[in-house]
């Protein structure tokens, strides 16, 4: 019996100890009318050998195309050591560290992770993760509304340059708690949120302002003036950032006069493989004064009975298992294993490695944009400086091109018109440090062969 160790003798002895006539008798409290028959749609079992063959066939069918797409999930090199260690049974098959004395490994990893995230973001406190970047933003906004006692409006200024999917997720999660998202348009020339978009709301009751860094188009926003504007108008500043960009750019805790109040984002670029969209992890850091509003688990260092330092979950009175209906969030299980991966990943790369990854990704994206815009009919859309993504406008529909590229083993980018109707024929492209000049050339050559000549456009 797969994964069940019982021999017939075991079963007999165990039933004897229970005083039951059969295993079936153990279910005698379930009303007979409710009992189910055979599960017809579940297939017969496969051995490990058989399922291995099936999964290889399916994996092979999808192949390993060349990725020039980001849009919230980024291909980076992950050192081999990271997942070798992460998948050690001691990390992989442990539960949440509720029994602290038997979970010091997991707890210390989280403490180290918290330290690293505080360092990267320039803030005081980090939690132990949320589900992903999108839900982290939703939780950050719920937190901002709780923390901003002066604001009664529950209104959030949300730039349209924030990932459209993040905005959808925020809406799905926060609407029932009466959060109102007020959209700020971006400047069609620079791709960033203009001061005028904020100025329009000066003097009104705003709970928080969201500041993406970089934004969905890959462009940098005026992070200092947005942070200051938020504070001048009684709002909290909430940054949603790519952690790799922070290797080169000023920490959110140092934006403007006072720094942002809450910083969150997608942790995937720190050691999570693309893996079809998950598991990744959301991170969140904040100023010390807001710690009691922070959702999710937090690990603290303390002392044991002998005065020896050790680690334990702390401030649990914020959480659902203690506070129930009044908790800061319903989150329980988080993305612990991905946090372990990120902590090992950041330790191995170190500050220099992370900066080199960021620089190489920026440089490769510049090269990609230069090479693609040499083709007739492709132009950059925004003038603003960006990180490792860029928006290109084509003189023809991009969806068919993306599909055709896909059939030729190149994932060419993300077609924007579905989520930004005004960006017709626009493609969001990305080239991280994993791409070589030859890869970029492959993309350009494959695309050139597929594009309609300018005359036909």
């Amino acid at each position: 019996m797969p994964f069940i160790p019982h021999t017939d003798t075991d079963v007999e002895q165990m039933l004897g100890a229970i005083g039951a006539s059969s295993v079936e008798a153990l279910f005698d409290e379930i009303p007979a009318a409710l009992r189910c028959g055979r599960l017809d749609r579940v297939p017969e079992r496969m051995t490990e050998m058989e399922i291995t063959r099936l999964m290889h066939e399916r994996a092979d069918a999808d192949g390993r195309p060349l990725n020039f797409i980001g849009a919230g999930a980024y291909e980076h090199h992950v050192p081999a050591a990271v997942w070798e260690i992460v998948t050690r049974g001691e990390f992989y098959s442990a539960y949440t560290p509720y029994q602290a004395e038997a979970s010091q490994g997991t707890l210390q990893v989280i403490y180290e992770f918290q330290t690293m995230m505080c360092g990267l973001t320039g803030l005081d406190v980090s939690n132990a993760s949320l589900y992903d970047g999108a839900t982290a933003l939703a939780e950050a906004l719920l937190m901002a509304v709780r923390a901003n006692r002066k604001s009664k409006s529950h209104r959030i200024l949300m730039p349209r340059s924030v990932s459209p999917v993040y905005r959808q997720v925020v809406h799905a999660i926060c609407a029932a708690q009466q959060l109102k998202l007020v959209e700020l348009d971006y400047d069609p020339a620079t791709g960033a949120t203009p001061e005028a978009a904020l100025a329009e709301h000066a003097g009104s009751d705003i709970a928080a302002v969201v500041i993406p860094h970089p934004n969905f188009f890959g462009c940098f926003e005026a992070v200092d003036s947005m942070t200051d504007w938020a504070h001048a108008n009684g709002a909290l500043a909430v940054a949603v950032v790519n952690p790799i960009a922070l290797a080169l750019t000023r920490a959110p805790g140092e934006w403007g006069e006072q720094g942002v109040d809450i910083c969150c984002g997608e942790g995937q670029p720190l050691g999570s493989p693309l893996s079809s969209g998950g598991p990744y992890f959301g991170f969140m850091t904040c100023k010390q004064a807001l710690v009691r509003q922070l959702p999710g688990r937090i690990v603290g260092r303390t002392l044991d009975m002998d005065g020896k330092p050790g680690f334990a979950l702390t401030l649990q009175a914020r959480e659902q298992h203690i506070r129930r209906g009044k908790a800061t969030s319903n989150i329980c299980t988080n993305q612990g294993l991905l946090v372990t991966a990120a902590t090992i990943h950041m330790s191995i790369l170190g500050p220099v490695g992370l900066q080199q990854v960021a620089r190489a990704s920026m440089a490769n994206t510049r090269k990609l944009v230069a090479a693609l815009t040499e083709l007739p009919g492709i132009e950059p859309v925004f003038t603003g400086a960006g990180f490792h993504e860029a928006v290109l406008r084509f003189d023809q529909p991009v969806r068919p091109l993306v599909d055709a590229l896909g059939e030729r083993g190149v994932i060419g980018g993300y077609a924007l018109e579905g989520v930004y109707p005004e960006l017709t024929n626009c493609l969001l492209v990305c080239a991280t440090e994993t791409k070589t000049d030859a890869d970029i050339d492959t993309y350009v050559q494959t695309l050139a062969a597929l594009m309609r000549p300018a005359s036909a456009a």
């Binding site: 017969e44 180290e112 997720v169 750019t249 920490a251 009044k326 299980t333 500050p351 920026m362 400086a385």
Partner: protein, 489 residues
């Protein structure tokens, strides 16, 4: 054994340079945006990092190293093949927005998994996107709200939850804009049906139930409860955290539930990873089909797989994650489901129940008190130390900590809150009789120690990397990040 912090191994100028691109790259950051502070990351060699984190792993208990009978958590063996096959390079490198033409292999796995989960739950539709149990609960209650709203039935403000419910249930009700109202439990561990009747009314949006409940017993009057709630116009939510107890024996859909979440990181054996990730896939009855969270995997006319999104499900409660949830976890659950197969599914509950009832019988014979004597255990059961607490002052914490010294992870303690000094014990089907017998021996030894030398017991654990930790100090003198000029704590 302890291990110093990674930051204490750090030396300026050291780095693992095989791991990142070398060279000078031209980067054009806007003026004033350049980083001015340190990143705060350690500077260590690859070996130092590997050794540090390997040593940290060795400070943990885990399923792979210890019997881990943590109630409500289903700590069963996580087959290695599930991990290996979910981590095939093609799956790892698949971008979530890759075109469907380059994703048929992956989508086939997700489609098959949806079908399997529909069958084992008796539901009409399944969405795999929720990323843990609590998010599955959120999806479920949001669907209940969407259902009432679509009918213009907007006066429903309450979600009922039994007092034994997991904390995520009331917290979820709040997140969905409802008030959570508690229903008491009767002396046998069943929902107090009279109290339920009194609580039901036009304000009732629904009820969240776990069955078997978190008390480890099957809710015998479930059909009656289902009828009462439906008559009041409410819907029934099934917290599937305890699905292991009934897999292949009884299906939530057949019990009258409208929506269910499954913790695939419990019943379908994906790893807990020291806190996550999980997967809280949701199943729905006919009437909630239009509201499922997107995306869902469907079939196109030519039988190829495709995503169903807002165009297909315009009344969906929307997106709950950046992409499609914890895809890698879902692949692991899929491999597990295929290796169990139909017969294996039926066996899960059988052997989970056999192990739980055996362990319960042995502990009762050894003199421990059961919270609900005379009831069958489901996949778990509760021992209460109320009597021993009175007589010798022993607590559930004392027993939990001493079990660690005996080489067993502790059961869940102090949950559910309504049973005093409780141990919620869930052995799972993958443990052998020998492991259970050894656990009973340890419990007997600890009970004796409580009589003979309670002071020594209160000092446990003695063999872990640290002794009992000061939680009050942890909260009062908050130290949540390393600062180099710190004294050691």
């Amino acid at each position: 054994m302890t291990e110093s912090l990674i930051f204490e191994h750090s030396r300026p100028g050291r780095s693992a340079s095989a791991q990142y691109p070398a060279g000078d790259f031209d980067v054009d950051l806007p003026a004033g945006l350049e980083r001015t502070s340190e990143l705060g990351l350690p500077e260590v060699s690859e070996l130092q990092a590997v050794r540090h984190f390997t040593r940290l792993s060795q400070l943990n208990f885990s399923i792979d190293t210890h019997f881990y009978p943590l109630g409500s958590c289903t700590m069963k063996y996580n087959p290695r093949a599930c991990n290996r096959l979910a981590m095939l390079p093609e799956f790892l490198s698949r971008h979530p927005l890759a075109p469907v033409s380059a994703s048929q292999g992956f989508l086939a796995c997700m489609y098959d998994l949806q079908e399997i989960l529909k069958d084992v739950t008796g539901m009409k539709g399944v969405s795999l996107t929720p990323m843990a149990g609590a998010q599955g609960e959120f999806a479920g209650v949001a669907m209940i709200r969407a259902y009432h709203d679509a009918r213009g039935d907007t006066g429903r403000t309450e979600i009922l939850v039994p007092d034994a419910a997991h904390g995520t249930n009331p917290a979820t009700a709040t997140m969905c804009g409802y008030v959570a109202r508690e229903i008491p439990t009767d002396d046998n561990g069943d929902v107090d049906v009279e109290a339920l009747k009194a609580a039901l009314g036009p304000q009732t949006a629904g009820i969240m139930l776990t069955n078997p409940s978190t008390l480890g017993v099957f809710e015998r009057r479930i059909s009656e409860i289902s009828k009462l709630v439906h008559e009041a116009g409410g819907l029934l939510y099934y917290d599937g955290a305890n699905l292991n107890a009934i897999l292949g024996k009884v299906r939530p859909g057949d019990m009258g539930f409208d929506v269910i979440h499954m913790n695939l990181h419990k019943t379908f054996s994906t790893p807990h990873g020291g806190g996550g990730p999980g997967s809280g896939a949701v199943g729905v009855s006919e009437r909630l089909l239009p509201y499922m969270p997107i995306p869902v995997v469907g079939k196109a006319n030519d039988d190829s797989f495709r995503w169903l999104d807002e165009d297909d499900l315009p009344q969906s409660i929307g997106r709950l994650s950046g992409f499609m949830g914890n895809a890698g976890v879902l692949l692991r659950a899929y491999v597990y489901a295929r290796m169990l197969g139909r017969d294996g599914m039926h066996r899960v509950a059988e052997f989970a129940a056999l192990n739980a009832n055996y362990l319960m019988a042995r502990l009762e014979q050894a003199g421990f008190d059961l919270a609900f004597p005379g009831r069958r255990a489901s996949h778990e059961f509760i021992v209460t130390l109320k009597r021993q607490h009175k007589s010798v002052g022993v607590t559930a914490t004392d027993v939990a900590k001493r079990l660690l010294d005996h080489g067993f992870h502790a059961p869940t303690v102090y949950f559910p809150l309504l049973v005093p000094e409780c141990l919620l014990i869930e052995p799972t089907e993958t443990e052998s009789k020998e492991a259970l017998d050894a656990f009973v021996d340890a419990m007997i030894a600890i009970a004796k120690e409580a009589e003979d030398d309670i002071e020594h017991l209160r000092g446990a654990p003695y063999t872990m990397p640290v002794r009992r930790l000061d939680d009050v100090r942890a909260a009062r003198q908050l130290d949540v990040r390393y600062q180099p000029d710190d004294q050691a704590a």
